[in-house]
Symmetry: C2
Subunit: 314 residues, 2 copies
């Protein structure tokens, strides 16, 4: 195996790029702007330019590069075909073939960004040492990635790991952003938790640290829960129920070793892991009860790390 | 690739064995008794004897055998390690290593019987032409298998595909055989459907063909539904809801191309597929809505077919 590889995480605003050794060290990371005009046609040439510049700067030859991994914010199938990526203006084309054409490097692989981030956490983050892993990212939305045997499960059309759109409440009347009702994302995203809290607050008159807060946030709710606020604790309990039961149903399908929880909401820390795990163990099938729950560790680097891992054999 | 292979489906009562060509023809199939005494120690030697006898009978040389695939009624991990198989009296050991020792054939692979049956349906049955597939077997219990990219997802400890123990009803008060409450198996197994029907019958006085039947069965309920019986139709509708929502949540995790429905209950036919698909499409994430629903085709042969497929490269 060659000594170096690139991990590229293409986002709607910026492209994050990392230069790695193939044994898992980040040597450098930087960002370039995502130019979305003209169907995003400048994105790949700009990446190629940036990789070239970096190789010159670091005195690295192309022949020393093992490969280029790419995370893309949309569905990508096993073959590297992007299936409409509205955030970048991209239609349907094989992004790996394109990058090989531009760079002359043949080992190019691509995956959906959330799935690739999961792979990153498995390689160097919270899922280190495991090869069957579920990543759940609790942020503006709820994203996910499913890793089996050290590889991403892409799904048949690149749309696996949509954990946030598992239905966990069949009695919900409000709609999720996706149009369905009762999706995990409606309760476990940053705004979802606030919604759960507001519902609990509306149902009682009990005094609470989180009552009548103008900028009620997931952080405020967790902070209140940590200091023993009853309503905040109840809110965390509900969140744990939604996530724990979802994890139990995920385990029934793919039986991972570990669930890694990431995204802004996961900054709450161990209190979050514990409440998820408690509900998980109640609802999991007996053969699935003993699983690990870990916090993600790589933050925004998960994407470039996972992209690099795409081109490195186990 | 060599011309022949064996598929072996080890059950608690009998071992089914098939002789296949590696391009997918069943040349012969037969059964031997499963001898469970003495920790099931005679099972593998008896299989070896039976394979030898068959090769002699058919004038096939060992060198013409591509491999031996095994389905085992318990968890089996990627390496072929059986993790306690109470039905056979087996503890923890590597069944593939053992069969190689006995037969001298190196290409031996093993999987859980339900997962292996799913692989069989993908190769020569209802999932033919697809490589991302979920098999759901509706029988005494509800079993399952998850195929991604033409391979079984075993799970980290060989216990993936426990579709029957996804929770689909959080308000259930009765226990599933597994000890949990609200598992899919409680509604979608052969006895589960009867339970659903009895609950509907108890709730109304409406005359119905299925009322006061001594031997109410899934078949009777489907027959009544097909002839327009209102309560029976309502029962089928509920069954479709439970299975359809479970399939939607499965798709959120692994996004298959096709759901293949097998087991005794699936003899109901297209009426069953249609009602599952209708509810599925209502609850599935938008990127997952267009999936196929098919009936299993191989019946009891799925196990030997899938076992044979284990040792044949794609």
């Amino acid at each position: 195996m060659n000594k170096y590889c690139f991990g590229v995480d293409i986002g709607g605003t910026s492209v994050k790029i990392g230069l790695f050794t193939t044994d898992g060290k980040i040597l450098d990371k930087w960002e370039i702007k995502t130019i979305k005009e003209d169907g995003g046609s400048a994105i790949l040439p700009n990446i190629e330019q940036s990789l070239n510049d970096k190789m010159k700067e670091k005195l690295i030859q192309k022949s020393e590069i093992e490969g280029i991994g790419l995370g893309v914010p949309g569905p990508v199938d096993e073959s590297g075909t992007v299936l409409n990526c509205v955030n970048l203006g991209w239609g349907v084309f094989n992004v790996t073939v394109e990058v090989t054409k531009l760079t002359g490097i043949t080992n190019v692989k691509a995956g959906n960004d959330a799935n690739v981030a999961a792979l990153g956490e498995m390689w160097l983050g919270g899922g280190r040492g495991f090869s069957d892993m579920i990543m759940i990212t609790l942020g503006t939305g709820v994203g996910g990635g499913v890793i089996h045997n050290g590889k991403i499960i892409t799904g048949s059309k690149g749309a696996a790991g949509e954990i946030g759109h598992m239905i966990v409440n069949y009695n919900e009347e409000d709609c999720c952003n996706c149009g369905k009702k009762g999706c995990l994302e409606q309760y476990a995203s940053a705004t979802g938790i606030v919604k759960v809290a507001n519902r609990l607050l509306a149902r009682s008159n009990e005094p609470s640290y989180i009552r009548n807060r103008e900028n009620l946030s997931a952080k405020l709710i967790f902070d209140a829960a940590k200091s023993g606020d009853k309503l905040a604790l109840e809110c965390v309990e509900q969140l744990g129920w939604y996530l724990g039961t979802a994890c139990a149903n995920i385990a029934a399908v793919v039986e991972p070793d570990v669930f890694v929880i990431g995204g802004g909401v996961s900054k709450a820390g161990v209190i979050l892991l514990d409440v998820i795990q408690r509900h998980y163990e109640k609802y999991a099938f007996h053969a699935h009860k003993t699983k690990e729950f870990k916090l993600a560790e790589l933050g925004n680097d998960a994407g470039i790390v996972g992209a690099a891992k795409l081109v490195i054999e186990n």
